[in-house]
């Protein structure tokens, strides 16, 4: 519950402060957000499974975001930007769905 409150505080801060994203960072934002979502849902599932570890959460979140951004950057340099990011988005989406399904099973035993 406390991390949830922290999340809401962070969202409120972001809406209030309205930080400006530098222009060179903007292409990496969408994929970074999806990678962050994947890490968050993974963490929620780990909590439900009883094996949550904050260090692993931090590491998985940071590595997800950095690797996703790197893949987008590499794809842009190679000229296959949209195809690579599509692949990344598909994989992350599948992982999000699987984690959410596991969470659902925990919550509703269904």
């Amino acid at each position: 519950m406390i991390p949830l409150a922290g999340l809401l505080v962070g969202v409120a801060l972001g809406l209030f402060l309205h930080p400006d994203v530098p222009l060179w960072l903007q292409p990496y934002l969408p994929i970074a957000v999806i990678a962050a979502l994947d890490a968050v849902f993974g963490a929620v599932r780990a909590v439900m499974d009883g094996i949550f570890s904050d260090k692993v959460f931090v590491v998985s979140f940071l590595s997800n975001v950095v690797v996703a951004a790197l893949i987008v950057f590499l794809g842009d340099q190679l000229g296959v930007g949209s195809q690579l990011s599509t692949g990344v988005v598909v994989v992350l989406g599948v992982r999000i769905f699987s984690n959410v399904a596991a969470i659902r099973r925990h919550l509703f035993s269904a």
Binding site: L13, H18, A102
Partner: protein, 298 residues
């Protein structure tokens, strides 16, 4: 899943990427860390109330909000248009500030001129008269204010059915030219449109859909300030050619106009005059012509 012997390959070995994606969506680090902690005798989970977790949660919330704000901005033509409008406004502000500066300098020059030409000599009066006529001097006096504006949506919709081209309800540059020409003929002494003084070198043109006077774009409605004999001007505007034109515009195209005679209307001076020649008068009265300085007309 069927049991496997050590070393025997799964039949779907080549699909490990997809299978691992589907079967192990959770970072294996969690399991490994949990097992290590259990071996050390600690509970498997560190719990969610650690400082690190809360800090991460705040940062993630911040990231979501920031990216939502950054990515949700409407992109494409509307944002480009907004930015263009902003730049236009900025440059217009700069142009207005510079016009103010030029007017201030012109006043300074006038003061210096009257000092040096000597009060009461015919030259100062002659200079004033010429300035009013050419339009570099601001003037106030009785006259008319004519406001013209485009017709409304009904007028716009009636253009094509009536056989006119699309957009007939809009005031055209030619309309302003004709009306002001007739006003000059009727004895106007000074005319300004939306605060831009008409001089002998003024242009009334159209750029895209905006009318421009002296190459400055005008915003609707178009206010024509005229200084002159109010009776002569009113006669021209009601019975004369200018009046007939305005009425015709209204009846045929739906262009609206409004006329009011005022006791005092202020018409500003033209901002940029072009200096063509300058002569230096030496102390002994002889003159020395400097090179001609010519700039663009206003």
């Amino acid at each position: 899943m069927t049991e496997r012997h050590e070393g025997e390959r799964r039949p779907d070995q080549s699909m490990t990427l997809l299978t691992s994606m589907f079967e192990r969506p959770l970072d294996p680090g969690y399991e490994a860390h949990a097992k290590a902690r259990e071996r050390r005798g600690l509970p498997g989970s560190t719990g969610t109330r650690t400082v690190l977790t809360v800090i991460m949660a705040v940062l993630i919330g911040l990231m979501f909000a920031t990216s939502a704000l950054a990515l949700r901005q409407p992109d494409g033509s509307s944002e480009a248009r907004e930015r263009l409008i902003e730049r236009i406004r900025e440059h217009e502000a700069i142009a207005d500030a510079r016009s103010q500066e030029i007017r201030r300098m012109q006043e300074e020059i006038t003061a210096i001129q009257s000092r040096n030409l000597g009060e009461g000599s015919g030259r100062v009066q002659e200079l004033q008269r010429l300035k009013v006529v050419t339009g570099s001097q601001a003037v106030t006096g009785p006259g008319l204010v004519i406001t013209m504006d485009d017709g409304g949506p009904e007028a716009a919709a009636a253009c094509i059915p009536n056989g006119y081209s699309d957009g007939c309800h809009r005031v055209k540059a030619a309309d302003l030219q004709k009306v002001t020409n007739h006003l000059w003929k009727a004895g106007a002494e000074a005319i300004a449109i939306n605060g831009h003084r008409l001089t002998a070198q003024s242009s009334i043109r159209v750029a895209g859909q905006a009318l421009t006077v002296n190459f400055r774009p005008l915003k609707r409605p178009y206010v024509i300030s005229v200084i002159g004999d109010p009776d002569a001007l009113t006669a021209e505007i009601t019975d004369g050619k200018a009046g007939a034109l305005l009425v015709a515009f209204k009846n045929l195209y739906g262009v609206t106009f409004d006329i009011s005679a005022v006791d005092e209307v202020a018409v500003p001076g033209a901002v940029a005059g072009s200096l063509r020649e300058a002569e230096v008068i030496r102390d002994d009265g002889t003159t020395e012509t400097t090179s001609t300085v010519s700039e663009n007309a206003p």
